[in-house]
Amino acid sequence: MSYDDVEIEDMEWNEELQSYTYPCPCGDLFQITKDDLELGEEIARCPSCSLYITVIYNIEDFLDKKSINKLEKSKQQPVAVA
């Protein structure tokens, strides 16, 4: 089970790690990359322990224009977007 649900606006962009981060109770940071977010990944893991959090975000905020257009196209068709 996820340790916590965290909104993306509460996570911090870490230039060094190229990831969004949030404090982990072990002392390290939960991390998720922009690439992961673009792929719809919602689990941010901590590299030091077994815990993970669920990131709450709107995937459209992480897609560039081209892929948003693509997404909208696919939305117009009766295809389920997971």
Partner: protein, 408 residues
Amino acid sequence: MEESEEGKSSINENEEEEEKEQQVWSWGAGTEGQLRTGRLEDEYSPQLLHQLHFLSSVTVLACGGAHVLALTSGGRVFSWGRGNSGQLGHGDNNNNMLNSCCYPKPITFFDHHSLTHVSAGWSHSAFVSDSGCLYTCGDGSFGQLGHGDYRSHCSPVKVEYFINKNVEQIECGMRHSLVLLKDCLGNQVYGFGSGKRGQLGISTERIKSVSLPQVTNGFEDVEIVGISANGDHSAAISADGHLYTWGKGFNRTPDVHCPWCLPSSSQFTKAALGWNHALLLTGDGEVFMLGGSHHGVLSDPEKMSPAKHLSENANEAALERVAALDGVIVVQIAAGAEHSALVTEDGTIMTWGWGEHGQLGLGDARDQTNPQAVSLGDNVQNKDTKFQVYCGSGFTYAIRTLCVPSQS
């Protein structure tokens, strides 16, 4: 540094009536140097640390996300552990600011100050001087340093807001800070930093963050004697033994935006907050827990089910007495992010909760749902021995002080 240390200690010898001999142990998460072992490794069992003469009489230890502040009886402060946000307060000489530090280093900014209180948050630090001034350093990106902006500082900076006020206590949470003033009935508690979960108690509206201190509501007619902050939680204890909590709801109950008095017939003397639980000590030496539904089962996903009944009312967040401590008199409590520690009247240190990094000090990485006795290696018990226990997010410190009557 050595000379000024000598100078300070000669002054202190006159002030103190007894000489103190201390032993210090650390265990748990250690990859940032926070354990002071000289190794950047986790430790599953208590590690007896080398005696350092300038740290021979620690009066207060403050453990944060991955850093430690130590106040000595001479009023000096040392820091070590993670320093990437400036939370060690060593300044940026030689670009050291971003470095972690695995040995205690004095915060030279305070060479000519005497400090009475320190607190370590997730990535910020705060200090109270004997003249009642407040200083902060470290991560300021949520306004948690209280300087009216969102800048970080790698050396302590005086919080101007309190310049004509008398600060008694500061408590640092994950992204917020609480201040308790002396002799200021009605307006004694202030909050600043992140307020999204209600942890500042300054407004019933949802507040993202404030960078200047604001009065916490609800204490107009209450005398507060102690405050606590950790994670997104805040708490205060009143002179008549009532506990007030605000901030993130316990056991997934809704957030509380104004300090709320826990209905209980017990007289509380101390609150220690984790990221999802509160540990409470009564005047009779009993221990209660608030929000402990996941305490000690974090590594076991099967046992971690959503809270049995999701209460709509924070007032129903169950207060439970730690039943396993029946008949045990507890004298001190401490809480890490997801673990708990206490000292019993007979000088036993007990731990329970999340153990993945060895933060319970029981020799393994297992979780514990009930308090377990920690073995410190030898059993020299003495009526003149006093134990103290301190928890950082994922690590723990124990200090044994032997009080030897002065020869003079």
